[in-house]
Symmetry: C2
Subunit: 350 residues, 2 copies
Amino acid sequence: MNMKEIAKMAGVSVATVSYVLNGTGNVSEKKRKEILEIVGKEGYSPNRIAKSLRTKKSSTIGIMVEDITAFQTPRIINGINEYAEKNGYTVLLNDMSFLKRVGKNFESIRHYGDILRKEVELFEKAQVDGIIYVALHDRDVSDLIPPSKVPVVLVYCYDITHKNYCVTYDNVDISKEVARYFLEQGHRGFGIIWGSEGSRPAQKRYNGYIERLEESGIKAEDVWTFTGDWEFESGGKAYKEYKKLRNRPTAVFAMNDLMAVGFMDAALDDGKKIPEDVSVIGFDNRQECCFTRPRLTTVDIPLEQMGRESGRLLLDLIKGQKKEEKKIILPCRFIEKGSVTAFEKKEELL
Amino acid sequence: MNMKEIAKMAGVSVATVSYVLNGTGNVSEKKRKEILEIVGKEGYSPNRIAKSLRTKKSSTIGIMVEDITAFQTPRIINGINEYAEKNGYTVLLNDMSFLKRVGKNFESIRHYGDILRKEVELFEKAQVDGIIYVALHDRDVSDLIPPSKVPVVLVYCYDITHKNYCVTYDNVDISKEVARYFLEQGHRGFGIIWGSEGSRPAQKRYNGYIERLEESGIKAEDVWTFTGDWEFESGGKAYKEYKKLRNRPTAVFAMNDLMAVGFMDAALDDGKKIPEDVSVIGFDNRQECCFTRPRLTTVDIPLEQMGRESGRLLLDLIKGQKKEEKKIILPCRFIEKGSVTAFEKKEELL
DNA sequence: CTGTTAGCGCCTTCAA
DNA sequence: TTGAAGGCGCTAACAG
């Protein structure tokens, strides 16, 4: 079934059918209805390939994901896909499987420039109208993504050169929220387990946490700090250091769930009670950590929403809209579970 | 840059260029080289859209996933994508987000026939050469997937009518392996927590488990059985029943990780020690369960491999190969962790 | 061995 | 308001 046949059935020319279907041109209401009826009855819809060839638009966007098995990726794809489909776009997926290739050594992804170039080319050959790049780890990816003829939006990463559009989440406010929550529960001794050194998200989480604590009169130098590397094992190392302290904080904010669970695991192995002896809050709301005992209080990143917003941004860019702001920042959500104890006699502790 | 320009530069006709690029037709070695050199220098590659329009082949396969946030989906996509890309195919993704729509009530997916039809049509319009359908839950999906003009392969589900090709994993052998492992560790009292009634995978897991136990002289009627519904909560219910038993088995095989963890959680809440008081084995190797205390001994499903094999099968079908066998069954892998105790004096227990 | 040419299905300019 | 016709880039007869 093609336009020619529809036109014949309706007794009009293909042009008229095209006008009706695309809402271009002026067609009398009568013919319009006749044509639409036939189109409906026949279940006809234009051949996208032919249309693309003609219009140089494919109504297709490409999603490049650094690794689809990374915890954040599926929810982000979910958001993108939802938005794209709702707007008549189809999604091409490309998974670069970087976890297998580089393990945890994210920086070495830089050496895979040829793969990235190849994938972008692949997408361009497939005539995608735009590209969304979903990172494996929240980090600076400036100059990583090769220049492309079509618009590009980055998700779950950032670009210090501000050359690229990116969609990310807010670290500062939610870290303040974490501090506030600890304070509200009556905690007065605080610790923080850093992600890797030099990480911007880590710096922001630190800043937010400390700022809120300082508001309540707690000094930054009184906050116990341990620098980890985002991995489970460094949570255990953090606990070893924690144990050496004279005044052990009752409230520990780990900058991600893996370190939080590593810390908890080591503490439990050591016979400590959680949350009674030490309370812990994580970050990421990873599925891996949803059945720990106690359940980990944590922070959920708005991944679906990041997906949707990146889709929206990309489609706007495709339509030629100019965007002043290169960065979209979405708020996180605090997830209260069971890894923080509440002190009843809050006043006494002050 | 198009073929015409390349042809002009090489002083030949477009047909010759096409012949060279596609390896069709006979072209003199000399012209061949000249053309390839120019193509290489210009970084030219044929427009896929135009090619598709002409050949009615898109070198694209569509993946329909019932839900990309289901635990098995990303690894399956990973396998498909890897195989497809290696063979020059591009992947279109379509996520139907059924978890949001139907929750755990998988059977009601049947009522979403219109969505399925729409998605298949969408893929057909996009001219995919074949479709892979990835289910949310391992169940019978016969007559669920609307007929399509292109080959279809189902993954992580089955079709009792044998109309469709499907790729799945072996339940029987691995369940025997579970029983064997318990026996080897010296266990002599056994239990099993069923998935939902009427589930084929559950029946097979039961059969394998029991068969191996019977080989060692344990009678089926002596195996404590509880019927759950695959969910976390039913693990807790199972524990309540378990507690009422006079002769409590030391070895419990839960047919999935969620029920296993639900059981463990209830047991731990009740002051029991795991694995000392009761040992547990799960099924699925879900990420959600990787940080329980103790770590859950379980069964890993070969998801990436299922993805790769479904890709291979689909591409073979696209090329017109006839396949005798409608079903590909891949073996699972036993994952030994810490939720099973070993009795030292195994002989005495016999 | 190589070139000419007729479409694939659609959009869009131009003319009526 | 409508229709005729060219062409998007490519493939594959067919002719030479």
